[in-house]
Amino acid sequence: MSTRTKPPAPLEAVAGAFLARYEARPEHDATRARAAALFRAGGLPSPREEPWHYTTLRPLADAVFDAPPADPAPLLALLPDIAAARLIFAHGRFRADLSVLPTGITVRTGAPAWGRLARPAIEKLVALNTMLAEDGAEIEVAEGVDAGTLILASLATGGAFHPRHAIRLGRGARLTLLEVNIGTGAYLNNPVFSVSVADDANLTHLRIQTEAPDAFHLSTLYAEVGAHGTYDSFLLSLGGRLARMEVHARLAGEKSAAHLNAAQLLGGSQHADFTTVVTHDAPSTTSRQTVKNVLTGRSRGVFQGKIEVSRGAQKTDGYQMNQALLLSGEAEIDSKPQLEIYADDVKCSHGATVGELDPDQLFYLRSRGVPEAEARSLLVRAFLDEALDPITHDAARETMEGMIATWWEQQTP
């Protein structure tokens, strides 16, 4: 019998490279060392694990991220034209020179903002982030303060980086956080967010993921909402070669609410995965989700949404709607809405539909003189409207609608 060792599987090689990078760090504090031990034992997620059933990180093995990072300043032009303070991160590092600091919000940068919600022992990408995080923003809005709008942007031209952000809203505080991810070239952006919304507070989190076509975007967000508080989020996912946006929202206080709306627009051979877990842990909590997918080319869209209702979380009201439009013969949608319920006095439902543009609707518009291309565009916009509707920030909504229009033009030859 030969004793040759098996060559490492492609993903093991990628994990090995991350570990080597960790070993090369000058110091290994306890937090990172614990995460490194977890990552060494667990490696990267594989499709054999149920939460990764539809998304494989295998393409990471063929990607090269070692291009020397270039000057990110030109990317600033791509930021939404919204008058607001901005925190700019380039390649995972805070850039004070490019940022405009807000007033009325406490911001600390220069080190990872670990937060207290992340679970590196469960989410493997969070172990990876914890092991290699260099920087992040700790954003704090004090009790009762309405802090307006803040832009948090990630710019990149290459490399692999793991920003670690924490956002904390005091009792009754309000904030609109506009998160933008943009770049050029090939890179890996693996951010982790820890979001706590205290009682009566309200965080509106608008997220734009328009990474470069060769980029990987793997983000994990944990949110915890206190009594009468709201975490209200909308994700527009357009970019990247492979994107996985994972959200764990826990409704911890009575009458708290979470909205996790999203639109994934994909073309070419893009793969995007929106995975959410909403945990109703207190009575009379509400969750709402409208997730829309528009798929062209050979793209593949994934939506996994789980509503968990803990024992005792009576009067829970959970609703989730997930719809997909397949506009080409080779696109694929995989959807797994999921209910896990341990309380009896609840109202939970989900719905999912998959199909192409309704020929009757097309015919209706054509018969009224609307050219086919325009009719299709109208119907796609109408399809997305339901997810965009809850956005109350007019300027952000306009920006996103503009991005959707540009995307659509690129898809139609």
Binding site: G329, I333, L339, I341, D344, K347, C348, G355
Partner: protein, 494 residues
């Protein structure tokens, strides 16, 4: 709702609480020694005087099984199963295969009488007394532990060319048919429990409906586990040739025992062009006691393939029994324009666990499927719907509609929904809806106000909740199923 007063009568007529099928019958048994190895399989094969090809097939399955591990993805928990601590063959001592009903052990006949399954060719399933003289006829195959003890109406079926007999007999009398189709839908290595079944299956029913024949009566198999420390591994194979039609019913019970017993069956259905198979199950294995002691582990693989164009397979199940249910009756929609249906009611109470659902695999063009699942959880039970709808790239115009509803009774139970929806064809249209709720206070109030007791009110509402599924059952079974629902939920209110 004309059925309501009758339903309530039925409910009231069931005064006995608990599991009324829990008696055991003392019958002299021929048991294989405990344990599972190649010798056990050779012994089973020898007892059944099987041809060599079947023994080889079994051994191949056994080899596959040994390389596999028990699946743990379902939302169920149980102590590890000791596969070496079971008898894999148990048969009533008597010469196998009685020529006529007169030769059947009177003890056995009495037992089936007690179960309401009279093995006499005049009778029908219990439950619909006074249905007039126009009683539908039902052919019954009775499987007792490992062997089939009687099959009724065989001659009238043979006249139209329908073969309905124990599968062990089919192996002997129709070897080519069995060899052609056995394992063609559920291959020996399909999954852990299917591999185990393929290695050690002992009996089950075989039905063959020839071209263009509409089977003149319902076919049914009644399964009974009786012996202690046995596993039951039956195998059912139904083949519907082009243009034929058959409706098949299956029922099952077991004695009340403190230890868990394993039931790992495989059912394979094949429907050719324009054929229809309707498969109905009322599953009432012993569910264990209120503390979760005892009960059947029901780990079953059921799959049908719509091989021909315009063929149709329809599964209807009412699951009230078993300590643990792990079962996903599926349809592979291969033929163009073929149709798959799944109608299910699953009730769990006490500490029962059910993880059940379906798979609809759309391969052919214009295939369509419908899924209606109703889960009812009470007590400290867990009830999961797990289903897959997959549209393959060539399935143009495929269509699916899924409706999953869960009803919770009490705040210590769980209801879960885990659908997988995968589409790789843009012209396919899929809809999925799921809801979870409890019995609404205003519904209860309405019934109470009209003088119904709380328990009757709950039964009425539960029956209404399940109506979409129950109406798919053949009439005799629908009545039995309603009774079962009432008995299962007894004591879970208030």
């Amino acid at each position: 709702m004309a059925a309501v007063p009758e339903t309530l009568d039925t409910v009231q007529s069931v005064t006995q609480s608990g599991y009324k099928w829990g008696f055991s019958t003392d019958i002299e048994m021929d048991l294989a020694p405990k344990g599972l190895n190649e010798d056990t399989i050779r012994l089973i094969s020898a007892r059944k005087q099987e041809p060599d090809w079947l023994l080889e097939w079994r051994l191949k399955a056994f080899a596959a099984w040994q390389t596999m591990t028990e699946p743990h993805w379902a939302k169920v928990h149980h102590a590890p199963i000791d596969y070496q601590d079971l008898h894999y063959y148990a048969a009533p001592k008597k010469k196998p295969g009685p020529r006529s009903l007169d030769e059947v052990d009177p003890e056995l006949l009495a037992m089936y009488e007690k179960l309401g399954i009279p093995l006499k060719e005049r009778a029908i399933l219990a439950g619909v007394e006074g249905a007039g003289d126009e009683r539908p006829q039902v052919a019954v195959d009775a499987v007792f532990d490992s062997v089939s003890v009687a099959t009724t109406f065989r001659e009238s079926l043979a006249k139209v060319g329908v073969i309905f007999c124990p599968i062990s007999e089919a192996v002997r009398d129709h070897p080519d048919l069995v060899r052609q189709y056995l394992g063609s839908v559920v291959p020996v290595g399909d999954n852990y429990f299917a591999a185990l079944n393929s290695a050690v299956f002992t009996d089950g029913s075989f039905a063959f409906i020839p071209k263009g024949v509409r089977c003149p009566m319902e076919l049914s198999t009644y399964f009974r586990i009786n012996a202690r420390n046995t596993g039951q591994f039956e195998r059912t194979l139904i083949i519907a040739e082009a243009g034929s039609h058959v409706s098949y019913l299956e029922g099952c019970t077991a004695p009340q025992r403190d230890e868990n017993q394993l039931h790992a069956a495989v059912v394979e259905l094949v429907a050719m062009d324009d054929a229809t198979i309707k498969y109905s199950t009322v599953q009432n294995w012993y569910p264990g006691d209120a503390e979760g002691r005892g009960g059947i582990y029901n780990f079953v693989t059921k799959r049908g393939v719509c091989r021909g164009a315009r063929s149709k397979i329809s599964w209807t199940q009412v699951e009230t029994g078993s300590a643990i249910t792990w079962k996903y009756p599926s349809c592979i929609l291969q033929g163009d324009d073929s149709v798959g249906e799944f109608y299910s009611v699953a009730v769990t109470t006490n500490r029962q666990q059910a993880d059940t659902g379906t798979k609809m695999i759309h391969i052919g063009r214009n295939t369509s499927s419908t899924i209606v699942s109703k889960g009812i959880s009470a007590g400290r039970s867990d009830n999961t719907y797990r289903g897959l709808v997959r549209i393959m790239p060539r399935a143009h115009g495929a269509r699916n509609h899924t409706q999953c509803d869960s009803l919770l009774i009490g705040d210590q139970c769980g209801a879960h929904t885990v659908p997988y929806i995968e589409s790789r064809n843009r012209s396919a249209k899929l809809e999925h809806e799921a809801t979870t709720s409890k019995i609404a206070d205003d519904q209860l109030f309405y019934c109470r106000q009209r003088g119904l007791s709380e328990e009757d009110a709950v039964n009425l509402i539960v029956n209404g909740f399940c109506k979409e599924v129950l109406k798919e059952l053949p009439m005799e079974f629908a009545v039995e199923a309603q009774k079962l629902l009432a008995v299962s939920l007894e004591g879970s209110v208030g």
